[in-house]
Structures are given as C-alpha cells and as structure tokens.
Amino acid sequence: NRENKYSDFEIIISQAQKTQKTNTEFKKTIFKCHRSILSIRSEYFQGLFRSGMKESQEGCVELHSISPEIMESILGFIYTGNIKITHDDALEILIAFRQLLILDENLFDFLINYIK
C-alpha cells in the first residue's frame, strides 16, 4: 500500500521466464518507492544515491538476483519494520538483506536461528 504518488525512485525486478519456445523473456516488476526511506534502511541504496551515477540520475535501478516476491517483503520491512517469513523464503530473504546491506542485527539473529 505504499503511496506511489510522491515516489521518486523505481526498483525494477527482471525475471527470466521460459516460454514454450526456447527463448527466454524477461518479465519486469516495478516497485515505486522513495529515496529518503531506502537510504535510511539500506547502505546499498544510500551509496547508490550518493554516488550520483547513472541510476541515481535516471531514477531507477534494475536488480536481477532478487525475486519480486522477496523484493515485496523487503520493501515491506524497509517501510514498516515488519516482515513475514516462511520456511521457504527465509534463506532467500537473508541473502537479499545482506546484498542490499540492510543491516539489522535483531533480524539477522532471528533469521539465522529460524533457518537452523
């Protein structure tokens, strides 16, 4: 339910989908979000915006290794501080958190114990 109206940044998730033919197609999911909030929670985004590089100028970044579902969960956490974790996605979420340098000690402790 993030408010899209004032969004100033987009995260695009490209996912390879196998069609019946052998070619692969990319399905793109777009998340509209806010630089200021992303910067606070994620050092990755903080660096990205500070660098003044291409993504910062164009207002979007394309991520490959994270699935749209996981991204949805992570953004939920970034915006609200709450996240739902299931057995199936715990590991994936942990890896994504680390990749984006969202460094929340409590969450890490919890995830590690949970996975164990």
Partner: protein, 736 residues
Amino acid sequence: MSRKMILRVPKFQEPKRMEKSEAQRLWLLLKDAIVEVQHMNASTLSFEELYRSSYSLVIAKRGDILYTGLEEVNNHHTKNLLDKIAQAVDERFLIELNSQWQQYKLQQIMIHDILMYLDRMYVKEPQLKVFDLGMFKWKQNVLIHSQINDRLVRMLLGLIHMERNGEVIDGALMKSLIQMYVDVSLKEKETYKQEFEERFLLATSHFYKSESNLFITNNSCGAYLKKVEIRLIEEEARIKQYLDESTGPKLIKACEDELIANHMQTMIEMETGCRTMIQNDRFNELKLMYRLFQRVENGLVHLKNEFAGYVRNEGHKIVNQPENLKDPNALITSLIEIRNRFEKTLSQSFANNRDFINSVNTAFESFLNENDKLSESLALFIDKKLRGGFKDSNDQEIDVIMNKVILLFRFLSDKDVFKKFYEHYLAKRLLSGRSFSEDLERTMISKFKQECGNQFTSKMEGMFTDMRLSKDALDGFKNYLQTSVEMGKLPKIDMSVRVLTQGFWPTFPPHSCTLPPLLSQYCDLFTKYYCHAHTGRRIIWQTNIGTAEVTFRLPKKTHVLALSTYQMLIMLLFNDAEKLSLKQMAAGTSISFMDIQRSVKPLYSGKYKVLKRTPAVEKSKELSENDIFELNLNLKCKLHRIKFAATSQTDSEPERQHTRQRVDEDRKIEIDAAIVRIMKSRKALIHNDLIVECTKQLSSRFVPQTSMIKKRIENLIEREYLERFPDDRRRYRYLA
C-alpha cells in the same frame, strides 16, 4: 551471537564457482570504473553493475584480488597527483593542493560506496577500510612527502604569522588544509599532532615571547593587559576558524604562559603595575588583571599576596600614626574608611573572591591587634556616636556605621577588653544621662549579641533594666516622702537616685567624700525606704559619678549651675568661706586631691568662670595644694543655666589601668573555668596539650598568654583541683 560472526560465516551461501578469468574480468571492469571516478567521470557509470561486480567477487571469495588491486590503483593515482601538485608555485601551491585534496576526498567516498560490500564483508583488521586506505595513500604519497610536508607547514605558519600581524588571510583555505592533517590521521589525530600542531605551538610561543617582551617594556601595565586580552580573544577565534578544536586548550595554555605567567612578577612590580593600580583604586585595570591572572596557575596567589600586603601596610600606618593614637575617633574613622575602600576593590576588581576576602581579613586582624589601643578606641568611638554623634544620620547610615563597628570588632583578638571598656562607657552614658537614644543603644547591643551570644551582652542589658527599675524606685520614694513624718522637719530638695545591681555595672574606683548633713539625711531616708521595700538588699553609695544642680546667687543675677557631685560639694564650701585653698577644699569634702584638681579645673578655666584663682596666674596650668580660689562675683553670662563638664570624656590613665586590671581579673576566672572544664572531661592531660586546648577554647573572647595559663595551673594545683603525676611532672590529673 554477535553480528560480525554471523556475517563472517556464510554457511548458508554456497559460493558459486568462479573461474579465474571471470574474476579477472570483473576486476578490470571495476578498475576501469575507479579510474573514471578518479578523472571525475562517474556520472555515466552504473552503480548497480559495479556494486554487483564487487559483490560477486567477494561472494566468490575473490576479495583479495579486489583489495590489492585497489591499493595499487590508489598508489598510482596519488603518485601522479604528487607531481602535479609539487609543480605549482607560490600561492598556487596551496590552492592546487587544496583543490586536488577536495576532489580526492569525494572520489574516495564514491569508491567506498561502490566497494561497500567488500568493505563490509571482506576487510578485517589490520587491513584498512576502503576509505582509510585512500586516506593513507594520500598521506604516504602526498602529504608527508618531502616535497610537500615541510613546504606546506611553513606556508601555513607563515600565513598565521601574517594574520597575527594584522593581515587578512583566507580562513576557509586554512581550515581545509589544516583539517586535511586531521582527516589523514588514522587514530587520535596523530598525523595532525606530529606534523602540524607541534610546530604550530612552538611558533606561537616564539611569536608571543618576543612580542610580549617588547610590548611590556614600552607600554604601561594597563595597556599591556588590554593587549593580552585582545590577543587571547583573537586566538580563541582562530581555534574556531581553522584549527582543530583539540588544539584549543594547548594553544591557549601556550599563549597564557608567554603572555601572562612569564610576566606576572613584572606586572606586579613595574611602575605602572599592580601596586600603583591598588594605590590609585584603578578598579577596571585590576579587574582585568584579576581575570587574566586567574587563567594561569598560582596567578591569583601572586595578586592576592600583593593586595593583602598593601592592606596590611596601609592598616599598619593608620594604626601607628601619632595623631590617630591620640584621637580614637580619627583612628576608627580612618579604619572604617580603608575598610570601605578595600571592600570596594574586592567587589569591583576581585569578584569578591573568597580567598581575597579572607586574606584581607587576616591582614586586618594582624594590624588591628598590633597594639592594645584598639579595643578602647573602638569603644570610645561608639561612645561618641551614641552620645549624639548619630544625631545627623538617618537610620540606614547608622546601621551601616554600626555594622562597620561590628566588623572591626570581629577582628579583635581581645574581645573581653573591648567589652569592659564598652560597659564602662555605657555605664557612664547611662548615669550621666548623656545617651542620645535608648533605641540606638539597644540596636548596638543586639548586634553584639548576634555576634557573640547572650553572655556577652547580659551585663549591658542588666544596666538597662536597672535604669528602668531605678525610675520606679524613685517614684515610690517620692510618694513615701510625702507621707513620711520626718518630711516636715527637712527642707525640700529634689534628689534622684539610681540603684545599680552590683555585677552588672563596672565597679568604679571607690572614692569617699563627706556629704553635707542635709544630703546625708536624704540618703539615709532612701536607704530606709529601699531596704524596706526590698528586704535583704544592701545599698552602697557611690557619690563620685553623680550630678547636681545648685543655685548660684550673684549680686545682680542668679544662675543655676549644673555640676558633678564633687563640684557641688566644693561650691557648697564657699557658703561659709570667701577664699579656699585646694588643700582646704580637700579637707572640707574628704575628696582625694586628684579629684579636687579635676573637679576645680572646669570651674575656673572653662568658658564661664565661677571661681577665680588668686592671685591670678594665667600661664601656669599645674595646680598645687596651696593655690587659692575665690568666687568670681563678676561672672558675665547670658545663660541662666550653666553646664560644667564633670570630667573629661576620655578617662584618666589610672582609670584606664583600673579597667585593664579588671579585665585581667576576669581573665583569671575564665582561664580557671576553662582549665577545670577541660580537665574534668579529659581526666589526665600533658601540659602542652592543656595549654593548646585552653587557648583554643578561649580564642573567641581573648588570646590568653601562656605564662598566665601556667600561673593559673599552679594556682589550681595549690587549690587542689589538679595534681601532677608523681612519675611524670609534665602531666596533670583532675581531682574530683
């Protein structure tokens, strides 16, 4: 489990296998990007791509390639920069250095951002963090390089020197370059301290050493103080403007050492220095001096000692001035004046500093007790005030003077001597009816009470009670006379009597005299009346301090003479004789010759002469027994009532000695009491301890002489209150 550990054990992430060639490819990609950043062309790069590359390398455990590669790139880059900067000449050097440095810092932030995953997950001690690595390379290859460091410091110090000499320099540039030393320091600003701060402080000390020496020899102390204050303000501003704040205390200390501490003695002793300022009440300059001296160690001690010394000296002069020794009023007035003056100095210049006040008080204590005149002078001073000296002052002024009196009183070590004199003069005021206001008397006494407690003033208050009771007794006596049988037989005189409780009042030296029969009869009547009303009391008549009014009939005119009792007795003798020698007067009245002398003097040598000396001898003032007097029937005086001073206001020497003797008597009793009190609680004590303890107990009233205490101990041994230990003669035991 700590976070670090979790992050370092990527159990759950199976690293993807990565070919060496792939790792090499990723590194080259990053390297190119870093070089672009170093050329300020970052805007076309993709952050995500670069971040992902470094992420992949780290995940694949190829962080080492990345880290060592980065080190090399930085190394190479800073070496290039060195050449570029070193080539710049003169002022361009600082500007070039600064702009390169500012760019370099920005680049290092960007590189850090790209390699954030490396920084977070790979780098561990003692390896430097990515940004610190950048700083270290700059320091190593640029800043502390022989072509840069010395040149930079010299130029910075040169600019600061210029600024101290009044020129304007580029503060922002200074700040940036000096901050660079802080930025490249890895821990505790060590590069800043070693390479810059140390030399800066040295240069500062040098600068102010020569400046202060020169300035103080060519200017007054006041001008120098102002200069110092301005310099200190400037240096404070300098710290804020472009130095690291950690330098602040060190810089200010260096300045204070050179500008203040090294010149304190000079500032105190120089011709325009502290002494002159105190002498001339230069409050503002002293205040500045106080503020500045306060900043250095022991500074205030110097100033305080100088001030206290001056106070002691001034007080000493006043206390020993011959005119003041003769005139108690002038003495006390001058003392109050200097007290006021020094209090003003204390409050206006020395912030009412406790230590200063204490040392001034100590000085007062020392000179006020230099000679034993002060107790009496102070009592006389109050006496004069209370006899009417307060007439023209309002309540507030009176209160101020009284408080000053109390203040001086506080410094007296022999308060008991003062008390005796005060009681003596109070008694005289009350008995001669010369007290100006009972309210003021009571106010003064209540102030002593506040200061020393009930015991100190109980006798004085007793005197007031006696005065009131006497009035009642006298009224009763008058009624009694009217109803008395004997009354009819006696001619009527108006007699007033004051009944004084023995103990409250100072004992006046006993003088005897013969009263005329009529008066004796009245006295007997009063005694009869009083002893009847108050059984068990005894009345002793003290005639020497009374007053009388007699009618003096001249051929043409009649006067009323207000006289002392003795003078009355002498005058009454002339009812039966025309001429009398002093010897005859003494015989006729049984008054001592000395009192005769004192009584007669005002009668023949004052403004109105009721007696004349025959033959008239103008010059000779000394009276001898055989000098003859007769009534002056040619007295010319417009007044009906003529008042004669009974005795001079100041006491004669014998009277004074009498007072002192009584003080000594009282002291013996006090010392006895103190010794017994101490021994009773301690049972046994060594001689010296007893002396010390005894002196301590009595110090609020007077300072007992050791010899006197010894005598009292001997006396108490004789009276069997104490005994010596047989085996140790220095120890005493209390005998219950």
